[in-house]
Structure formats: structure tokens, C-alpha cells
Amino acid sequence: MSATQTFLLELHCEEIPARFLDPLTRDFSAAFTTWANGQGLAVTNLEAFYSPRKLAWRGAGLPASQPNQIETQVGPPQRMCVDEAGKPTIQGEKFAEKWGVPFSAVRFEQPAGKKEPCAVVTLTKQGRPTAELLQEALPGLIASLHVPKAMRWGHSQFEFVRPIRNILCLFGEQVVPITVDGVTATNTTWGHRLFHRQHSEPIRIATPAAYEAALEAAGVVVSLEARRTRIAQQLDQLAAEVGGRVVADAELLDTLAEIVEFPKIVRGDFPAAFLELPKEVLVTSLREHQKSFCIEKLDGTDLLPFFLTAANRVDDPAGFVKAGNEWVLKARLYDARFFFAEDRKHPLSDRLEKLQALTFQRELGSYHAKTGRVVALVKTLATRLSQDEAHVNRALEAARMAKCDLRTLMVGEFPELQGIMGGEYLKHEGAHEEVWKAVKEHYRPIGADDAIPGTALGCLLSLCDKLDTVVGCFAVGLIPSGSKDPLALRRAGQGIVRILWDQGWPLTPADLIQASLNTVGAKATKPTAETTEALLAFFRDRVAYQLEMAGYAGSVRRSALATGWADLADLKARCEALSAFAEDARFASLAQSAKRIGNILKDEMPGDAFDAAVLQDASETALAERLETLEATDRQVTLLTALADLAQPLEAFFNAVMVKCEDPALRAARLSLLHRLRQAFLRVADFSLWQ
């Protein structure tokens, strides 16, 4: 076997939209690996690279040729291939002919699974040179890449994400001259546009290993990771230079790394007068309009009048990049300040009536109607949770104001500031802190990584708003299925569960569903029973996911969830208690016994009472003695300790005793004993699901 070779493919395109870079490189890597495996060509370490103008892959460990493939073909039984005189029959000769071998090459053996010896030939399929296989396969693999928004260009009939202008394709040092839409691969490519202002010739890549270094010399850092690291370092350094720190935004960091080929971070400043705008407005405006980071004071409070943005070049020799970005940013901030001033000319509450013209959902009506339902829900739940009338009134006030900012100029410009602006405007109007904070945070948690609102009132408002969305949509038949969840109801449901989980309120999902269905009322188009059933199943899934997110072991989750999830506080306590025993070997034994008990009781209906005097064996009287303490124990941990201690006695019991014995009285007593033990277990968990 000759030494292995490395393969390198680069598609050099016009600027590819950042959002497609990662999916495209992944898709090709997967398709290439599948193809290579199918050809008997194992690839070790397939790396992917991308930059705005490049998609590239490098795979090591490919053999120079496919290994020879040895195939065995089985034919008809020996008796049909050879006549009595030992001569080949017509059928025998046809078999040899079919596989292109002389009859003398046919052997007779009994293959596995056959009852008699059969004709067998062994064929050696000569492995083909890898370069030749690549040449044949790559154009098809490239063409079959799924591009969500594909385009044509010039006279091309070929569709791709953006025009392909150059192809580099190497196997070792050898060029694999594939052709895609009239572009034939060579061993050269192009570096940064600025580099080629001085160098008219393309860059030659001598070997796949030389790829990154050759491109770096031509002004392109082709590894995303390398670009991201360099950007992060510059961000930190430039922020520190002005005594601040970067307002972290992982997504923006990824974006910057994806839109430049060479990462240079430029720091600019803006007039300090703009700092009067709320921090969120500045951060959002800078991010959305200028892909820029903000710098905040080291204590994380206020912003400093600086921004950081990426340039696609090595330096900013004339300061044009800084000046240009500052100029654009100033225009943007003038706009933001205009919106902020205009919006505050009228109290936020003026927008309440205007919500009537804003549709929430066709069947469920406007945001005005939604506000009415959320207010009603908040009223129901707030009065259950609090005796303080002033607190309840503040909750109602927050609910009324929650959606008003949807009709402000600022939210019209930056939809992601919904809630935040409502809160800011209320704060400026002098609303109670509880009220404006609740409005500001009521969309949270926005995703799995986002925190729930920081105040109890915010949590209540968030819960009621999401509950109305989920229950309302289910009631009109908009139920998520499979990968389809266009209204992000699962995310909303998860938010509800997270808030309940965290706040420990005595509200069950069933209560919430009922309360919300009452407010949806006649708008529902589906029967209530059907909706409730679907919602319960939906929330059970959300609760199960919450347990997973909380980090409980599979054994804990399965067994705890099976015995009830209506009371989340109780479920949480049981999971916590069970987790302490997750690695306890006694629980494995207990699980075995629990399964056995389940099987034994399957077709039995034992009563609760039994006569302890009937019990004979020491092992069973020992169990009966413990039963009472077990049933009297309330605290989860104590109960679990007691259960763990029961593992050994239970084992002893099953070793010593035949439960379903002849004596009817004894049998009944044993069944009752097990039944009551099981009831005691089920207060915490269904141990039969432990493993």
C-alpha cells in the first residue's frame, strides 16, 4: 500500500452570504465523507474552511488508489452445474459466463445458509486511482449541494449560492482538473482583493498542507476560528485602551468573523450626547445597522461613547474606515434619537386603543384583544398568588401597558426592542419600578440561553402572555407538529415551565390551561376537551425537557416524571432527592425489585389491609415492620434513605419467599404487603423505570 495523500478543494466565489457559509461547508463535508466511504476511501480528519469568497475542504489519509475489492458470487447448486460425467451443464457455463470467468475458475463449496454445495466464484475488482474517482465524483457532489436561495449568472444554467469564479483542486501535488460550469480546476487561487491590486497573478498552492499559509501571505485568513480569535483579542484590547469592556455578543462576533477575509477591528467614537438614549437602543442600533460592538464601563453599567467594528483589511492607514463608520453611525443615531423623542411626546397608554388595528392572529384577534385576555389572566393568577391589593393593581397596570410599545416608532424600526422600549418609556413617565421592569422583561426568556425576568411581577406577566399565546393557538388548531412550529409555541411553553420551575408557585399546568381557556372563550374553534388533552401532552413534553435542561440523570427523570408532574415544586424536590441516589447501587437493586413487584401485581387487585400475623418468613415480617415507618415518612430525603435501606431486605424477601403460594390467606397478605410498598415508592418515583 502506497502512502496516503491529502485532498484539497476550494471554490472561490463572489461574496457568499454569511448565513450560508457554515451550512454549505457542513453539507459538503457530510456528502464527501459518505461518498468516500462508499468508495472504500477512508478520510481521516476532513477539515472545512470558509471566508466570504471561499468554501474549502481538506481531507487527509486518502490512499492513492481504491483498495482492490474481493467479491464472492454464489450460483446454482453443484448438481445443476455439473452433470454425472463431471462435465459442466449449460447452466454451469452460463454462471461462469455471467461473471466473465472460465468454468475452471468456478469452485463448489457449501456457503453458510445453503443446504448443499453451490457454484462459487471469487472476483477481484481492481481498485481505481483516487484522483480519477475524485475527478468523476466532485462535480456532482458540488452540484447537488442544497442552496436555499440559489442563483444563476451570465449564461449559466448551473445554480449556486453565488458565481463560482475559480476552482482549486489538488490530490497531493497533483491537480484534479474538474470542471464546474465552465470553470476548470487548477492549483491556483486568489487572495484578498487588496493584495491583487499589487499582484496580478493568482496564488499557487503547491500542496494541500501549504494552503492556509499561502493564503495568509495573500491577505486571507481562511480559518473561521483563527479570524474569530483575532477579532476577539482586538475587541478586548481596544476596549481596554479606553477603560471599558466589550458588551458581549457571541452572535455578532460570529457575524464579524464571517464577513471579513482579514480581520481588523477599528474603534470609532460618537458624540457623547447620544448616551442619553437607553443602552439597549444604542446596542441594538449599532448591532443592526453597523454590525458594531458597544463598549461599556468596567462595572457593566453605562456605555462609553465608542464603538468597535470590523474592516476587511489589515490596517486603516488614512483613517478612512474609522471616519466613514463614524459618519454613518451618527446619521443612524440621529434617527434613533428622533424616534425616542417623538415616541415620548405622548404617554405610552395612548397606544392602547391603536392596538386594535394590529393583528395578533387571525382567529384570536388584535393585540388589543390579546391585552384584554392577558389582563384577565393576570387578575386571576395575581389574586391567587398575592393578598396585597396594591401589588395586584400594579400587575394589572403592567399587563395593560405590555403591548403598547408595538405602536411606537422605535419598535417599528427595531422590532427586537419590543418590551424593552415599553419599559423605558414607562420609566420615563414615572411609572412604578415594578411595573416598568415587568413590561421591559416580559418577553424573556427569549430562548434557552436567556434568563427569565428578574422580578416576580415580570415573571407573572411573561407567563400570562406566553400562556395566552400557547393556549389561544391550540384552541384554534395551531398546534406544533414535528419540525413545524412557526409560532415558536414550544419556546413559549418552555418559558412558562421555566418560570413555574424557578418561582415555585402553587399553580399546576392544568390550572393554567383552564384559566387561559376561560379567557379565550368563544374564540376557540376546537372542542375544549381536545384542546386540553393536546395542551397537557404539550406541557408534559416541556416539563420533561426542563428536567433534562436542569441536568438530572435519565434514571431520575424517567422515574420521577412517571409518578406525576402537575406540581412542579414537588417534582423538583423529588428529582433533587433522587439525584443524591443516582449512583447508589442499592437503587439498582431496588429498581429490579420494583419491576418484579410490578409484574407480580399486574393482574392482581390486592386490598390495602392485611393480617401481619399470617406472614411466616423473617424476611417478610421484616418488610412489614418497615412499612409503617415508610408510609409515615414525609420528607423526600428521609423517605429515599428508607427506601435505599429497603433494597437489601427486598432482595432477601424475593430470595426466601414465593409470593403466589398455595395458602390463600398468606398469598393475599403478601400481595397486600407488596401493593402497599409500591404505593410508598410511587410517592417519589416509579423505580421500575430507573434503568
Binding site: E15, Q157, F158, L194, V328, A331
Partner: protein, 304 residues
């Protein structure tokens, strides 16, 4: 740089690279794409390179001449290259250099921005071209125009004249831009954009936000539509019918700026403009090439 110098340089540059220099079309329109030089030029198989300035009206963007950045009417410099050349990005970059932008000192990026005109049944993919953080051009590969596939594909380059001028000169107010200089026996008089246009901005904004007769515009919209279909159906005249579609589009924009079109009504009205524009495109292609739709080939057929 003066506005007129920028326009002259762009015209010279593109004329030297084999473009016809066209003229603005004398009807109100929202973008240079609506000029028949582009709308019909991008259809069919004949080679077509053209460049021209197009004054573009966006009634909703009117600010009475008071906003330093936003105006009712602005100038677009439009280039159509059919088929799109392999070095189209390089050509575009050279055109910036012809404007005196030394790219070795600036940051130039092509950021995804796909273009769509629902009222023309047209869409394409491309970028906004960003210079030092400022969007200066729109760059589009037309995929469909008038509901018909573009084969071959044209590249459309649209330069925002005022923006580029402001950016190059570091102006903070569009009305301070200098259009050019009037030289007379009495001396040299620079003329600003404000002198030429500010009063116009005021009156046109007032017209679209306050004075436009909405009933008249609704009637006009219906009348233009009827006229357009009559011209197309009874006479097979797609050019005069297309003018009616342009008039419908502008009439709609006036109504829209006044908030006289509800969100539910909107798609239906746009569709009425589109239907007429698409029918004109189809009639044009039948007239020019005797086929309604360019022959469709396998989408992925190019790879070998």
C-alpha cells in the same frame, strides 16, 4: 466632488466599457429599474448594456426638505449588463476608482442584500456594497423580471448619487451638496443641491402627505389600470400599456404615503400593478423573440 461631475464620470466610465448611455424615462417612478431600458432590456436573449441616471420618487420618504439624509426624490445611477460579465465585480470596483476613491485606503465589502420588486414581478440576488460602513450601491443579478426567468442573467448596478457625494465630501446635510458651478461674465456661482431642490422637496412632501386628492388618486389608479389592459388587449401595445402600469405604481405610492392603504388591501393592489407589468413583459418577449418564456433547461445542467 460635484454631483454633475460624479454623473459625468460614471457615464464616461461605462460608455468606455461598452454601455449605451440612456436617459431617464419621463414618468414618475420609484426606482431606475422601472425604466423600460431595464425592465424590457433585461428580458430576452439579446446582449444589452446600458447606463443612465434616473430620478426616483418615494413619496413616503419625503421630509419637507428638513431631514439632512432623507428626501422624496433622489438620483440613481443605473447600469445594466446583459449577460453579466465574469469580471463584473472588478468592473464595478474600477468605476469607484474612476470616481477618485482610492480603494487601497478604504474598506469595501459586498454584504448580502436580495432585491425584490413585487409590483414588477421581479427579483434578484446580490449585495449592498458597503464602503467604510456606508451603503453606496446595490448590486443585483436579476433572476426574474415581469414574472419571466432572465436568460441570460443581467447584472444591475445602482449607485446612490447623493449618498456617494455626501460620503466623499464628508457632508452632513444633503442640501449642502454642490450640484455644479454656473460660470457667467459676472463670475462663478456654485449651485447647491438645496438651491436646486429644497423647495421642490417641501412642495412634493406637502403634496404627498397633505394635499394629494385621495379620491382622485383612487379613481386614477382604476383608470390607468383599465387603460393599460385596453391598450394591451385591444392593440397588443406593451410599451404604452407599461406606462400605465408605471402610473398605477406611482399613484399607489402616493396613496400609501398618506396611509390610505390598509395592510390587508396592500398585497391586492400591488398584485394589480404586477399583473399588468407581467402581461406587458410577456407581450414584449413574444414580439421580440416570438416566444413567451425562454426555453427552460435543467437547473443544474452546467456541471460536468
Amino acid at each position: 466632488m460635484h454631483i454633475q461631475e460624479l454623473i459625468l464620470r460614471l457615464q464616461r466610465f461605462w460608455a468606455d466599457r461598452g454601455c449605451l448611455i440612456g436617459q431617464p424615462y419621463d414618468l414618475e417612478k420609484g426606482a431606475g429599474t422601472m425604466n423600460p431600458l431595464t425592465f424590457f432590456g433585461a428580458l430576452g436573449s439579446k446582449p444589452w448594456n446600458v447606463a443612465y441616471v434616473e430620478p426616483s420618487r418615494r413619496p413616503a420618504d419625503g421630509r419637507y426638505g428638513e431631514n439632512p439624509f432623507r428626501v422624496y426624490k433622489h438620483l440613481q445611477f443605473q447600469v445594466i449588463l446583459k449577460p453579466s460579465p465574469a469580471k463584473v465585480q472588478d468592473l464595478y470596483i474600477e468605476s469607484l476608482e474612476a470616481l477618485g476613491i482610492d480603494l487601497s485606503k478604504h474598506d469595501l465589502r459586498f454584504e448580502e442584500d436580495n432585491w425584490e420588486s413585487p409590483s414588477l414581478g421581479a427579483w434578484g440576488v446580490g449585495w449592498q456594497v458597503v464602503l467604510d460602513g456606508m451603503e453606496i450601491s446595490q448590486f443585483t443579478y436579476f433572476q426574474q423580471v415581469g414574472g419571466l426567468d432572465c436568460r441570460p442573467v443581467s447584472a444591475e448596478l445602482t449607485y446612490g448619487i447623493e449618498r456617494i457625494c455626501m460620503f466623499l465630501g464628508g457632508y452632513d446635510n444633503i442640501f449642502d451638496l454642490v450640484h455644479g458651478e454656473v460660470k457667467t461674465d459676472d463670475g462663478v456661482f456654485p449651485v447647491t443641491y438645496g438651491q436646486m431642490r429644497q423647495r421642490e422637496e417641501f412642495e412634493l412632501s406637502a403634496y404627498s402627505f397633505e394635499h394629494a386628492d385621495l379620491d382622485l388618486h383612487r379613481t386614477l389608479f382604476e383608470a390607468f389600470e383599465k387603460e393599460g389592459w385596453r391598450l394591451l388587449k385591444d392593440h397588443g401595445h406593451f410599451l404604452s400599456a407599461y406606462e400605465q402600469a408605471l402610473k398605477m405604481s406611482h399613484t399607489f405610492n402616493v396613496l400609501d404615503a398618506r396611509g390610505a392603504v390598509s395592510t390587508t388591501e396592500r398585497p391586492g393592489i400591488i398584485k394589480r400593478v404586477r399583473d399588468l407589468a407581467c402581461a406587458c413583459a410577456k407581450a414584449y418577449l413574444e414580439h421580440e423573440e416570438g416566444v413567451a418564456t425562454p426555453v427552460a433547461a435543467d437547473a443544474k445542467g452546467g456541471a460536468q
